[in-house]
């Protein structure tokens, strides 16, 4: 079992990257890999509550994050300072995440067998 960390560094909806990252996460978890998700920089905008992607003609992959637990993806980290930068420091988020420091993230990257950035 490989320790896979998947990093979201881009804002959702403007590019296909976020959706691809989530697809990869669910697929890897279905094949019993140890998957962690990491939201950094504009990637934390995935966690913005009350998104309605379909009103802009985009697919609502944000709703799919709700299924992470059922896929046994339990480690979901978000960068505290990135959240603060976008006004999400004290805000409720779309899914439950662990808010971590930059140092925690550095450790997470070091400990993973593989890191894939989207």
């Amino acid at each position: 079992m490989k320790k896979l960390t998947i990093v979201f560094r881009r804002a959702p909806h403007g590019t296909p990257h976020g959706r691809e990252a989530l697809d990869l996460a669910l697929l890897s978890a279905s094949f019993e890999q140890d998957v962690s998700l990491l939201f950094v920089d504009e990637g934390v905008l995935h966690l913005m509550p009350e998104q309605q992607p379909e009103t802009a003609g985009a697919k609502d992959y944000i709703a799919t994050f709700g299924a992470l637990e059922l896929y046994d993806i339990e480690t979901v980290l978000a960068c505290q300072s990135s959240l603060a930068r976008f006004g999400l420091a004290n805000s409720e988020l779309t899914i439950s995440v662990e808010r971590v420091t930059s140092n925690n993230i550095t450790e997470q990257l070091q400990a993973a067998d593989e890191v894939l950035v989207f």
């Binding site: 697809d23 669910l26 697929l27 279905s30 094949f31 697919k59 609502d60 992959y61 709703a63 799919t64 709700g66 299924a67 059922l70 896929y71």
Partner: protein
Amino acid sequence: MNHIDYQEQKIETDHQGYLKQVSDWNEEIAEIIAQGENIELTVAHWEVILFVRDFYLEFKTSPAIRVLVKAIGLKLGADKGNSKYLYTLFPLGPAKQATKIAGLPKPAKCI
């Protein structure tokens, strides 16, 4: 255009018989799709079909087979939480057939 005939209406499907509009579905249409799959729906089938449909409506994606197995096991008991049980109900593949009867799009990856 591929379609299902239902009460004077033509319900649009893709070329493999999956409904184009999730919202077109109802339990009678499910029966019609199931006939086309040679499946006679029992209470056991409905448990899975409704689970898959609820999962899709909540998470906007169909569950992977492993997730389906686990969730059915939790909900309906460990004796039903295995892929053999699901294949007994849906012989050509639970992901494929249960989603079709539930009126959902074909899963992108059949796992």
